[in-house]
Subunit: 499 residues, 2 copies
């Protein structure tokens, strides 16, 4: 009797053990299928890469698991301003900075460099300043400007040194060049408020930057900053404003593009290891069809003049308040055989509105990539289309936090895009305005805050490769080969230095 | 020559017009395919329903479009506490309140009714109170309790009337029963802080609610509140605590379940138009396997005793800090043939962690529905599985805001679930704790804040139908038929009253 009971019990236990195995196998199989689908899963790591991977995963998982227990210390669910400087000290950030990251495919020309750089520009000769109650106007001129000023124009040099406290003067002036403040959640209480501040910086800096000598220097120094951040190639978006000089000359958009090409050539001469840059002409969207028609004409002229430099065309500005793409269909269709499109679309969380549905128009117009595409997660058919047509989504995760589309990056749709291996590139939009590195912060936040705990070096490498693959760089194969060489060198350095 | 030019121009114009038509057709086709996929798209509205639909869409679109231009006035991107009372005055809210909404399938028993109700309970006889520095303890007793109290136990009646200011006394006491405060973003600065406060309310109210006469009354009144909110059926989750009475009796979990059944029978007798309620036994997850084993035993006993009342089993508590499902696999598998599961899973934004991966375990264990499933959006394979296996996601959008998973509801994954017509039911989790209606606020926020601008009455009807379809109600076809009758009556009333 005893032996029968034991036999019976063993039977129950082993049946149960089998059942447990079945369920464990199933849950593992489900999760494994997802890992095999995740971005970067097709990359096979070399032995050296595996060593680096172990190192970075140890750092990442330590930080994540600590945050999981103590969420008050987890940076990436907070506002970017709270942790952006602190993280720079971390080993992992330094490693990501040193890592070859490929290309920046979505960034606006006058927002690459930060407030310290702009402040330095105010030390140039011939800069005049007009301080008004809440505004400051800047203009280079051979003599005192006669343009509107509610107070008076004075030479910046005079204003600065007669202020009695240069440090205080500069500290206050710097504030006009940055969106960073201590209490963003309070001050930037809705999306229009932050966009107003954001656009004001562009305008304030704009009159200083559109001085031809500064313009070329700024672009040159932007390329240098990208190179220093281990970016090898850049597709820069620009509204191509009119430029001016001290002699009273005014340069139109085509000449502005030429100035960029000139600065690029100089830079390539000085730093021949940089791969290059192309231009996406991206005028403001809050205009009428006649203006768009004229912009298209400008794009065509640039294309004729600098066929290898112009990548294509886009429209910029706060999407919710601007005109939808569909209002310009005749103008955009007419040029679509000649000009490639790289439309901003779906930089919104207004589901079912005109800015949300810009996504459909961009796709129908054959856009090569989509700027932001934040809202595409709500569009199952459009997501299928971008996969099918291989249209890359230019995701700017830090920008979307700062410009108030999402608060906690863990809720950013990028997590979903990465899980599904959607055609994604990581970019930085306007890093200078929020005092971020040209690309490293966006890679870092993606890796630490957005991606799965399991996402590893393969994801980082794939994102870097994607940025080249989805670019319009000439000799793409050669460039990717060059990337591989630099990547291997990076890996070897990390392994050798025993980081 | 002139006529040739004209002919040529007409040719260009008509070619372009065709091109525009092609592109417009394509964007419309893409967007149409999405509308045809959206939840509720299979519902065909009657003429009367169409009239109501026009009415509600006018109200919805007016409010949305105003918010689109003036985001500072758009409620649903703000914290729930800021707008929850204001919206009750709106015509659309009143209509949604009046609308038959089917079932509540995810709500916790002692969090259905709000602080005003709990405050009223403190007027019952025989209630003792112990005020400590930051806590208050409540207990019904025949004489002064001898359980721990750092100050002293006194009869609530005595404490109240000796306070000198009953209104102030009650106002302060009420604060212990609500999570609602003026500055949630500041005070509830991370998820653990809000969960601590949240759990404290359960504990404070708990010792008052577990007094047997109160227990039955609370459940009776919860059913009444649901019925008043035009909910016809309820699956209530309970930890089934021990109950007590003035005679020193203590009732175990099975007896607690029996008390619920008794209260339900009384309610059904008084309100025979209510369809009924079932119980999901859901003990705390932060325990060891031995405790789970015992809980399963309790579930089995309830099932034996009240086979028609027990719907199934779940585990509750802050998922990130609790034990993952996988730690209890042997215990859960063993009972899986007898007990249906309704697991909480993925109530987290920690991607790739144990709480995130509870989703896989819940599915592998054959869960019938998933509580929250907030994180499933990051799991493409698991989303396919829930569709294939027809596992409903119990989404509690207001809860997820209050308990800090997401700030702006427009970023809630529910938008994606609705777009894909995933098996979704809308529920309210703990509406009393944040002073929401039993279900209307969650429906309203889903409709106004989360869903597409195009989502209409068909979505609302489908969500109500889903809540019955994915329930375990007996005689489901009959219940759905009864729903249809009430729905038609609702529609006719709205049309007749010319809302």
């Amino acid at each position: 009797m005893w032996s029968v009971t034991v036999y019976f019990l063993i039977g129950v236990v082993s049946v149960l053990a089998n059942d447990v195995k079945t369920i464990v196998d199933e849950r593992n199989r489900l999760l494994k299928r997802e890992l095999d689908m995740m971005i970067g899963s097709d990359i096979v790591l070399s032995d050296s890469e595996q060593k680096v991977n172990e190192m970075i995963m140890k750092l990442k998982i330590n930080e994540m698991d600590f945050g999981f227990e103590h969420p008050q210390y987890f940076n990436y669910s907070k506002h970017f301003f709270e942790y952006k400087d602190e993280v720079k000290k971390s080993k992992l950030f330094k490693l990501i900075k040193q890592m070859p990251k490929g290309a920046v495919l979505h960034a606006h020309d006058t927002a690459i460099l930060g407030p310290d750089y702009l402040l330095n520009l105010t030390y140039w000769d011939d800069l005049y300043v007009c301080f008004e109650e809440e505004d400051v106007h800047l203009l280079f001129a051979a003599e005192t400007p006669d343009s509107a000023c509610k107070t008076k124009w004075q030479l910046m040099r005079d204003a600065r040194y007669s202020s009695g406290n240069v440090e205080k003067f500069d500290r206050e002036l710097r504030q006009y060049f940055t969106i960073v403040i201590d209490n963003p959640q309070e001050v930037y209480s809705d999306i229009n408020i932050i966009w107003t501040k954001f656009q004001k910086i562009f305008m304030t800096a704009g009159t200083m930057l559109t001085y031809m000598p500064v313009w070329e220097q700024y672009f040159y120094d932007s390329l240098k900053a990208l190179r220093d951040d281990n970016v090898m190639y850049f597709e820069v978006r620009s509204v191509l404003p009119e430029l001016y000089d001290l002699d009273g000359n005014v340069y139109n958009s085509v000449e502005t593009a030429v100035a960029y090409k000139r600065a690029l050539d100089k830079f390539m001469n000085d730093y021949p290891d940089f791969i290059g840059a192309k231009l996406i002409y991206a005028p403001l969207r809050r205009v009428d069809a006649k203006v768009i028609k004229d912009s298209i004409r400008v794009a065509r002229e640039i294309k004729r003049k600098l066929p290898d430099f112009l990548a294509g065309f886009d429209l910029v500005g706060q999407e919710d308040l601007g005109e939808p793409i569909k209002d310009f269909l005749p103008e955009l269709i007419e040029a679509s055989n000649e000009i490639d499109y790289f439309f901003h679309a779906g930089e919104t969380n207004w589901y079912g509105t005109s800015s949300d549905e810009n996504l459909a128009d961009a796709i129908a117009l054959g856009t090569r990539r989509i700027g932001h595409a934040f809202a595409i997660i709500k569009h199952p058919v459009l997501m299928e289309e971008v996969k099918k047509r291989n249209i890359a989504l230019e995701v700017n995760v830090v920008s979307n936090v700062v410009l108030k589309l999402v608060e906690d990056v863990r809720n950013h749709p990028l997590a979903f895009f990465l899980a599904q291996n959607m055609p994604v590139v990581i970019s930085s939009d306007d890093p200078g305005l929020w005092e971020a590195e040209p690309l490293s912060h966006d890679f870092y936040v993606t890796f630490m805050g957005v991606a799965s705990r399991h996402a590893d070096l393969r994801m980082l490498k794939k994102l870097a490769l994607n940025s080249l693959y989805y670019s319009t760089v000439s000799n793409k194969d050669k460039v990717i080969h060059e990337f591989d060489i630099r990547w291997t060198k990076f890996i070897d350095t990390i392994v050798k230095d025993q980081w």
